[in-house]
Amino acid sequence: MKINAIQLNKIISVVCAVVIALTTFIYSGVSAFATLGTALWSTWDAADEAAQQLAQLYHKTAAAMDNTKAFKQAYPNWYDLPIEWICSHVDVASDIAEAGITATYLLTPAGDLYYYIDDLGNLCVYERVGAGGEARYGASGGGGRPKTVDTSNDTPIFSGDNYADIIRRLNDQYGIKNAKEYISIRTDKRWDYSKSQGRGPISFFEEGEYCGQTNWLDCYILPFYFDGSQYWFGLMERYYSQTVETDDSGNHIYMDVNVFSVIDDTISYTARIVDTDKNVVDFANYRYMELFCSATSSTFLFGRMYDTYSNYIGKSSGKYTYAHFSSYDTSKLNSLYRVYSESCLRNSGFDEYKDFATVYAYAYSNNSNYVDGLDVGYFISDEPIEMGLNWTGIDPEKINPDTFITMEGDTIYDNSITNYEGDTTTINEYINNNYNFDIDINIEGDTIIDIDFGDFLLEITSSIETAISNTINFFFVPEQDVIDSGMDKIKLEIENKLPWIYDIADLLDALFYDVVQQDKDHTITFVPDVGGDDFSFSGDDGASGNVTYIYPYPKWTINLDWYGHDMTITVLDFEMFADYLPTIKSLILVFIYIVYIRNLIQYLPTLIGNVMQMSSSAVSADAIYDHYRDQAELQRGGRV
């Protein structure tokens, strides 16, 4: 079969159509899958530069807003922002494009709220309005149009679910404020190493130093339990040495332990490390000790100490110790551990209920049997470990995801939360009200309702006043965004219809071409045939040097394309007058002003006369009487 040229074209067209269709289909499929994913990238390092710039600008702008201390605490750096907030322009609904947004990446800290960088480099926000045109957050312009973010009027807004993520992350990262070290059984390699050596997770006491740190006089250890979403703490242990001088046998070093609650800071036990025979251990001789934390009916803090490094490494000739509390009531302390741990575990909703200490010991002995997401470990410091921002009082699981939060205030508890009905309260009140907006009023006993009539009237009148003010604003005060949007539409339409409109502006600009032109870059861009004067300068930035002032001169030329040759025909050339141009210009200026002022003086009396006439032309009663008298006289045939 022979194929002619027309058939070949058709075949090629069909093949091209199929390829394009397939490409489009595959591309849209990829986009759809990308949308289904949680994030475009897993880390900020992997993200596109444009996405990083957007996050940086958003963070910088939000941090510059008034009263956003809580935001800055939540996100000290731009790369602390969740990368899941970045979405691609092509992945979101078509209304983004309809709103005139062409940015490649958008940032969504709340559903239907999109931040992006416009063509001018400004951070803008667009809020997708509901079916009824309602703008829920009130973040963007009226009617859901994009607007530039204003640091003086705007505040960071997050959806309830994103806010819950913030709380979870803060609990993870900032629950502890000042710990020097964080050792997790799941992630810390030192633990694995120590465990492989059959010893405790930390180099607790070596060569008279705590935790491998020189000059640590105290060592605070805060064991934690992580339930997969939150950290839980019970009791903190403080180890410190007491040096006792004796005349007969030199110095003795005794290690004391304090145990106290990090929750209420009230329960404190003090003990001295003793051996299994309850003899006080002299750490001047035993300079190495590995620490175990466990909880059994008899001991919960115990370790094994060694006299030499080789024995310490070789785990030989060790001597068991435990904390010898003054009350000898270790079971009571043990139960305290259990009380705190139980309450923690219950609050965490951890189904597989376990004793904190049991989990701890169990996990330590064999972490392969771990439940996913669980973790235990230590926070270590040489000073009392403080609970960070104390934001653990919020249960992120109870925050309604259909709310949104304005992150404004000194602490996270000051943030305001708003639901779909428009009810707003602070996070603190929200928590106090059991994560509910409804406020229950309980009147117990005989409650006398005392109404101050004056206040009542004042409240009514002020309410009416506010309502009227709001109504006037609503009906009669236009939103600036509406005006801007309208003017932008007109501008766009003019540009579409008259694409050369800016050429007119160029021509008008040409009329303001200055006779004296300073070359700021020290390179001559406009080169007339005459020289200028050298002028020395010194700038604010310390720069100094000479700049040549150029005196261009009028020179009318016509550039032609003459059969492929560029030609320039000079019609008029005023080079000979170039040096005198400033003088000529000044003379022309003075002349025009003189002529204008002369004409104005000539015209002013007429103008002033007209004004005077207007002000004095009111007719007096006598004049009216004379007027009608004359009219009557004329009608009678008389003469006036």
Binding site: G142, F474, F475, F476, V477, P478, E479, V482, I483, G486, M487, K489, I490, E493, I494, N496, K497, L498, P499, W500, D503, D506, L507, A510, L511, F512, Y513, D514, V515, P552, Y553, P554, K555, W556, T557, I558, N559, L560, D561, L572, F574, L581, I584, K585, S586, I588, L589, I592, Y593, Y596, L607, N610, V611, Q613, M614, S617, A618, V619, I624
Partner: protein, 88 residues
Amino acid sequence: MIVETIFNWFVNGVITFFALLPTVDGDVFNSWTEIKEILMNILQGVSLILPIEELLPLVAFQGALWTFRLVFAIILRIKSFIPLLGGT
């Protein structure tokens, strides 16, 4: 709300008006770029002789004067309809 609606009417009117216009492309001139360059060259030459920028105050003043005369004429016309305030 009301003002915004009126403003949007105005905007829509302007846009409708522009939409009715044919699109005037710069390509109607065969060599508009060259023509523009020549025009700019001439206007630049004019600006080197005439102190346009320095004459702007005169233009502004003249504009203010025209505006005043217009407003003044309107006031006079309105006044002429009011009894006892003169007919001029």
